[in-house]
Structure formats: structure tokens, C-alpha cells
Symmetry: C2
Subunit: 407 residues, 2 copies
């Protein structure tokens, strides 16, 4: 490695590395290692090859996914090459054990369709045209028995068992099928084929990406890939990771401006700085400035800047201004939005049933909870009785941002 060769790393590359790696963990050699790779690349006029593997099974991207894409964009800005690997081999295999219903096998057409949807959405963040897009089915499906055994011979059982989930299951006497060893092996082999210098992934990819280093070395690469491990972005509740499974705390990148802005305004104050760091291009100096301001100013004002910036990025400035005005009007001035849908009430109806019918709640149970939590208002009066009957015209409101005009 670079350090043993006594390369003097120039401050500009340290700065580049610090910016691009913020919020992440770089292995094995941290910021200095990354800075050295960046410097060597520049000096040799040889762009780094930045790998991201994608499982083309979930075509709806949310802000959580954009964390890694912003990193890719930063690498692109510095002139490096992005390699997007569609996991066609993995996706087409599905879960061969047949034990799980959650990962059905996909056809090539489905994989292609999902991948295209993925790239369309990614193009909102990075320059997808200049990325190298490959499908690992193109090489993995061509591997013969000998190739696979050669690959498998490079890793020991003990090494595999250092992967935390394997170790845990083995220790708990839960079954691990042999084929599961092949997922990390195939991902690692992808790094050989695309000749990756850096692989990005979530913290749960630590083992797989470091295995990629070992496998590259076993196949003769001299300077093997680094891992850049990205944190999971918390959802707007600030507790669990952002995920489609919790739609109310998840912000899709195709979310309309008003909802995007409003959801961003709902994050807890302690997430403001983190969202700025992981979801905007704000400089290190600005970020430090924001952190200082958060200690003295009203966090709401800084959060509005965050919501404005992100909404502007995924829509445009006008949409962001509109969303901000709407937010100020509805939430801060307790007003009713300018554009409230109407609902024709043919016959008097119990509030619980009505909430479900309006899809303000997904079940009667949830509707009752919302009422108990004082989240439901009719004509600006809280409804506290689940037996309330709605029979007149007026504005019904659930939470801060859901409105309907009963007519």
C-alpha cells in the first residue's frame, strides 16, 4: 500500500477524500488511503473505477438510496468512472432454497425493466449517461464448473464464518445452505471482472466488499479495491431506516413537492445536520456553520432551508417556493391548504369508518388510534370520541397535512 511506499499525500487530495467520504467508513486505510488512491489516479491520469452493485428488484427509489448516488456523483465530478452492476445473475436465481417467498426469481425481461426504471430515477442524481452499466449475468452465467470451483477454492469456510450473519446462524444452529456462500463469492468476482478500485455499499456489505479485495488479490490484481461503507439513512421519524415498508417516514424521490417538503419538515431536529451531510452538496464549511447555528437559532428555520434545498433539487426552485408557502400557510399558520380535495358525503357516517374510507387510516384500529392521539380535527375542532358521526359540511383534517372538504 501507498503508506509503505512513503507517498506524500497532497492536502488537496486529503480534502477531496474527506468531503467524499463524509458520513462513511473507508476500509482498509481510511481517509489517507482514499486520498492516496485519488492522488495516484490523478498523477497517472487513470480514472478510478467506482463499483456499485444493484439488486434490480425494487424500482422505487427514496432519499435513502440517494446517499450512495451522491457519492457516485462526487466521484464523477472528479473525473472517475462509475460502474453500475445490475445483479442479473442473482436476481434471476432468486432464492434457490425455495424457503423464502420474499425474493422471487425474476425473468430477464423483468430485470431489464426494473434496471431501466432504476436508471431513470438515478439520472435525477448522477450522470447516468457516462456511467458504465453492466449485468453480471453476462459473466456469471457463462462460468463453468471449473471456473466456479476455482473461485470457491480461494476462500475458506472459516473465512466465510467471520461474516456476522453466518456466524450468528451457525452458532444458533440455524441452517446455512452451501449456496449462500456463493452470493458473496459472486459479488467479489464481479470486482475482478470490472476491475474495481472502490466498491460502495451499506455497512452490511463490509464482509462482501472486503472479500472482493481478497478475491481480486487471488486473481492477481496488485492494488485491490477499497470499501466505502455508507450509513443507512434514518426515516423521517429519526428511528428506523428509511424504507418503503414505512411509507409515512419514507420520502420517494418522485414524491410531489408539497409532500416532500412537508415530510422533510417533520424530521426531528437532531437529524437536520445529518440530512444536510448525506442528502445535499453543502460544503464542509457550510455544514460546520449549520451545526453552529443549530445551537443558537430556531432549528425550524434551518430545517426549512434543508427542505427547500432538497425539494428544489428533485423538482425546481419554483416548486420548492410553492411547497414552502403551502407549508407556512397550512402548518405554521394553521390554515387549510389551497387545493383540498372534496368528498361528497351521501349519508351521515361514523368518523372511524370515514377515516378508513378516505384512506386517512389503513384500518379501523389505526383510525381509532389517530382519534385517541388527537390527530383528527373537523372544522379545526379536535375529535376525541370514536363514536362521532359526521353529517355536515366542513374541512376534515388528519395530522398536519391531510385534508378533505366534506361536501
Amino acid at each position: 500500500m501507498s503508506t509503505s511506499e512513503k507517498i506524500v499525500v497532497k492536502p488537496e487530495f486529503i480534502k477531496q477524500a474527506e468531503f467524499i467520504a463524509r458520513g462513511t467508513e473507508v476500509l482498509p486505510d481510511g481517509i489517507i488511503g482514499l486520498a492516496t488512491k485519488l492522488q495516484e489516479s490523478k498523477e497517472n491520469n487513470k480514472p478510478l473505477r467506482i463499483k456499485l452493485g444493484m439488486d434490480p428488484t425494487r424500482p422505487d427509489l427514496h432519499l435513502g438510496h440517494t446517499v450512495v448516488m451522491r457519492k457516485l456523483k462526487e466521484f464523477q465530478k472528479l473525473g472517475h468512472k462509475i460502474i453500475l452492476i445490475v445483479g442479473g445473475a442473482t436476481a434471476m436465481i432468486g432464492d434457490p432454497s425455495g424457503k423464502s417467498e420474499t425474493r422471487p426469481s425474476l425473468t430477464k425481461e423483468q430485470v431489464d425493466f426494473n434496471a431501466k426504471t432504476y436508471f431513470d430515477q438515478m439520472s435525477k442524481v448522477l450522470d447516468i449517461q457516462s456511467a458504465e452499466i453492466v449485468n453480471n449475468a453476462d459473466w456469471l452465467h457463462k462460468m463453468q464448473l471449473n471456473d466456479l470451483l476455482k473461485l470457491a477454492s480461494k476462500v475458506t469456510v472459516a473465512q466465510m464464518m467471520t461474516r456476522e450473519d453466518f456466524k450468528k446462524r451457525y452458532d444458533e444452529a440455524k441452517p446455512i445452505s452451501i449456496h449462500e456462500f456463493f452470493y458473496p463469492l459472486m459479488q467479489a468476482y464481479d470486482s475482478v471482472v470490472v476491475d474495481a478500485d472502490i466498491e460502495l455499499g451499506g455497512t452490511d456489505q463490509r464482509f462482501n466488499i472486503l472479500l472482493g479485495r481478497d478475491i481480486q488479490a487471488a486473481y492477481g490484481k496488485e492494488s485491490c479495491q477499497f470499501a466505502m461503507l455508507l450509513p443507512l439513512l434514518e426515516g423521517t421519524d429519526g428511528v428506523v431506516k428509511m424504507s418503503k415498508s414505512y411509507p409515512e417516514h419514507c420520502i420517494s424521490i418522485t414524491e410531489d413537492p408539497i409532500n416532500m417538503y412537508g415530510k422533510l419538515m417533520s424530521i426531528p431536529d437532531n437529524l437536520i445536520s445529518r440530512y444536510f451531510m448525506l442528502l445535499t452538496d453543502i460544503s464542509t464549511e457550510e455544514l460546520n456553520n449549520i451545526e453552529a447555528r443549530l445551537k443558537t437559532e430556531n432549528p425550524r428555520d434551518i430545517k426549512m432551508k434543508l427542505a427547500f434545498e432538497i425539494t428544489k433539487e428533485y423538482h425546481n426552485e419554483q416548486a420548492a417556493i410553492m411547497a414552502q408557502n403551502e407549508f407556512v400557510n397550512v402548518v405554521q399558520h394553521k390554515g387549510v391548504p389551497s387545493d383540498v380535495p372534496e368528498y361528497k358525503l351521501d349519508t351521515p357516517k361514523n368518523i372511524v369508518e370515514l377515516l378508513v374510507e378516505l384512506k386517512f387510516a389503513t384500518s379501523k384500529g389505526e383510525a381509532k388510534r389517530l382519534i385517541q392521539q388527537s390527530a383528527i380535527k373537523f372544522e379545526n375542532e379536535k375529535i376525541t370520541d370514536i363514536n362521532t358521526i359526521i353529517s355536515t359540511q366542513g374541512v376534515l383534517q388528519a395530522g398536519k397535512r391531510k385534508f378533505v372538504k366534506i361536501i
Copy 2:
């Protein structure tokens, strides 16, 4: 299984099973299970498919190899089908870890040549013409990634770790490469492809053959294969297993009649009955009779019958008679063989160097040991001094059966 179906097993099939399984272990259901399979086969007029996998890397067969071949021959006599699987896939892969020099990768031509040599030798014991001979390269090399992962998904890591050598190495923190898991998997998959009813192998094949049962079940076979585990035949010293690595205790099936007979006469008495059981067609009654005689008669006479029978089988009756006469003359009557090679001594020579030159010893060290063990005679006088110089004509003898006439 049969027992749960309350099949009444007829005595004739019990007798067949007892004869064919003698000296072996049959899993999972022992003699009764085997008898049931034999009976069902007969009643359904559906010959059993008896599998033997062969690693075509050692073309010189010795009596140790014939133990399993005799079992195959017995199955053939009962009308069952022998399936010989040449391990072409395994052999061509060699040891992909590159850690061992002992199993070099073989080309297809080498595999074919070795296999042919194998079959030529096997035809001395069984009817090779009516056996089904296949090469697992024909299906294993055609497997695609998906097929291999499907196969691998049928077995868990914990299951693999019950194989003793894996468990031992894992516990001792010695490396097990992932590809090693594929050898038992491929062998097991062979059983699916050839639809085996019984697989024969050494006791070290217990795990692999039983895995074949599991894999057959996983691929939908109803009545899965039995394992018939054969003992390792001891070499003529009665201690370590017969192996080419100890040529002095190993009897090749192409060994000349005099050496074959002589080596058989050198086995310890406690092996006589075992050699009869594993290396001849002697009936159960005769075997019992021999065991009784061994307690009262001179074992040498019974051993001579053994040596005669085996020499006759691999050569012919005349050769066996000749070998027996030679043995009686040389060993019992301390005579010199009828046909001793001559060696022209140009100049007086030290006994140690001479023994090496004559190939009576493979090294000076061995030559010295032979002298110290009183195994060397010149003109019927023991040589005890390693500095002895041979300068006259006479018969030089090493051990019981090596002679040269110095002229």
C-alpha cells in the same frame, strides 16, 4: 422403507444379502434392508443399479482394489446392473487450491487412457462388457451456475461439518476451502443422474454416499440409494492398508505368479480368513470350515490353499502350480530358485553398493538396514558386516525371494 411397509423378506434374499455384504457395512438398514431391495428388484423384475465411482488417476490395480470389484461381480451374477462412473470432472479439475502437488489436473486424454487401463485390469474380475460406463464430466461440466446453486442449496454448512475430516480440520483451525464442499456434492449428484440404488465405496466414503441419499431425495427419488461400505484390505504385513506406497506389502493384480504366490504366503496367519473372505468366492460354509481348521491345523497349509486360489484366479492353474512348486523349493526347502538372473561382477564391490546397484535396496540406508536385519545371504551365509566386499562368484540372496547369481 420396506420395514414400515411390512414386507416379509424371504430367506433366499437374506442369504444373498449376507453373502454379498460380508465384510462390509450396509447403511442405513443393514442386511435386512439390502435383502428387501434384492427381493423387490426380483419381484418387480427391475435390476438394481449399483454405482461405483472411480478416480482415474491410478491405473495400477492391486488386490486391495479387487475387494469392491468382487462385490460388483456378485451383484452382476444376480442380474443387477453395474454403473462405473469415471470421475472425469474431478480428475480434470485436479486440486484447484494449488496447495497440493499430489493431485495434478489431468487432461481428457489422460483420463480416457487411465480409465481404459483401469477397465482392462477390472475385466480380470468382473464382466466389464455388461457394465454401464459413464464419465461424470458429461453432466457436471454442463452444469450452469443456476444448476450448481440449486445443488448447493440442498445441503447446509452444519451438515457438511458432520463429515469427520471437515469437522476435525475446522476444530483445529485448519483451512477448508469452499470448493472442497463441491466434491461430495458432485459425487452425490452423480447418484441422481445415474439413478443409483446402491453405492459402493470405502469406509471413508460414508458421508459422501449418505449425502447421495439426501440429494437423491431432494431431487425427488422415492427409494434412495444404500451405502455399502467396504473395509480397507491390509497389506501383506497385516498392519497398514495395501497401497502402492508400500510396494513390498502390495500385490498388484498383474504381479507375476511366483511373486504373487510368495507375497501371499508372507501374510500373518490372522489375515488368512479375512483374505479368503474378501479376495475369493469361497462360500460361507467353506469360510466357516476354514476358520475351524485354522484352530487345529498348521495355518501354512491353509495359507497355501489361499495363495494357490488367488494366483490361479489372476493367472491360471498351471501358473499357480508352478508358483507353488517354486515356493516349496525356495522357501520351504531353502533352495535356490530355478531361474536366477546372473550378474557379472567386473571388480570387487562393497556389499552396500552392490545391493543398491542390483535394486535389492532403494538406498544405501535401506541396504544397511537389510544387512542389520540379517536379510542378506551370500552362498547361504548371512552377511552381517556392512563393509563386506564381494569379489567371488556365488548366489546373493535378499529376503526370501530375491536372488542373483554373481558371475
